[in-house]
Symmetry: C2
Subunit: 202 residues, 2 copies
Amino acid sequence: MTNTTENTESTILKAAKTVFLKKGMDGARMQEIADEAGINKALLHYYFRSKQQLFEAVFLNAFSLLAPQLNYILNDDSSVQDKIIKFTHNYITFISQHPYLPNFVIQEINRNPDFAIQIKERPQFPDIKKFKIQVDLEVKAGVLKPIKAEQLFINIMSLSIFPFIGKPLLKAFLNTDENTFSNIIEERKTVVAIFIMNSIKA
Amino acid sequence: MTNTTENTESTILKAAKTVFLKKGMDGARMQEIADEAGINKALLHYYFRSKQQLFEAVFLNAFSLLAPQLNYILNDDSSVQDKIIKFTHNYITFISQHPYLPNFVIQEINRNPDFAIQIKERPQFPDIKKFKIQVDLEVKAGVLKPIKAEQLFINIMSLSIFPFIGKPLLKAFLNTDENTFSNIIEERKTVVAIFIMNSIKA
DNA sequence: GTCTATAGCCAGATAGAC
DNA sequence: GTCTATCTGGCTATAGAC
């Protein structure tokens, strides 16, 4: 019976995730989530009380998929170069499999900046401190050209994430179909790291 | 009297822009737009018939602010390097003054991909053809390291636009306040071009 | 735990006076 | 052209049967 409960609850969460990620908090409908889960609308309220609470469960789940991976680039002990090569490959691969994730998280934080505050309280929240020290050291040692860790971090994030968020726009500008665009993304798993390292390797 | 009409109409458009850009189509309320314009809700319908039509007027206006600037990097005759330096500086400066714009346009295209199709029909819609030829030529001439024009274009867009879309998230990760983040953006008006050119200059 | 039925509210849209 | 008042539909949430 605990099993049944957990199954229904996770069925709801999965359906809610599908709908919220595509439509956002404002665009999502409880009825659509219920349909997606193959159950009744009232049951959603039985398990999660309100749309808001269901949404928050989905949001925190989504965020906890995206954020911890950043700890790798921020806190691992290997060289900046090694981390950039591995991170961009892994992150682009991961987002390819969850293309709605970054747009959803960013959109909802923009809608309600309080989320950003809540999130910072959580354990495992990525912190740039160590990365900053490492970059400064490698710059001083002459391994990297002069660059601020903050700018480098923003560049890595931008190059990894934006193509997914801006996909429909980029597809239009590049005048490509779905397949060609997928190939371009596939290429980025390697060319992003090359692009970055060409720029900063001393 | 034509004047009065145009004034009311543009007052409504301005108010609608303010609200739609912040809240998006789904989050915006006609009442809020009416309040922002200092007029009555019924008047919105008198001028624009429906929320959808008012929204589309705002969307097309927003898009027509963002897109034509791309024609500079895509179609101007100066060298790739010159264009990147000028474009990143100008675009980041422009978006700094209209920070909600890119997020709004991208969000709404993601919500309704039909917009992307409609938009492509418009005159002045940016086209990458000429840029592609130019990049290929400069690569062949040994001015640039080997890079595909499509990837370079995506990189330029990503580095210019993403920091605005991802601002609350980046602020949290970097653990910076509003002021520090503004300074980082200010720096990007020059460092983005340096970052790109370091990477691709042969 | 799960359903049907419905309460209650809110938002977009319209009618009609001025 | 602009307003007040109101209709109508749709959505979240709850009541209550099973």
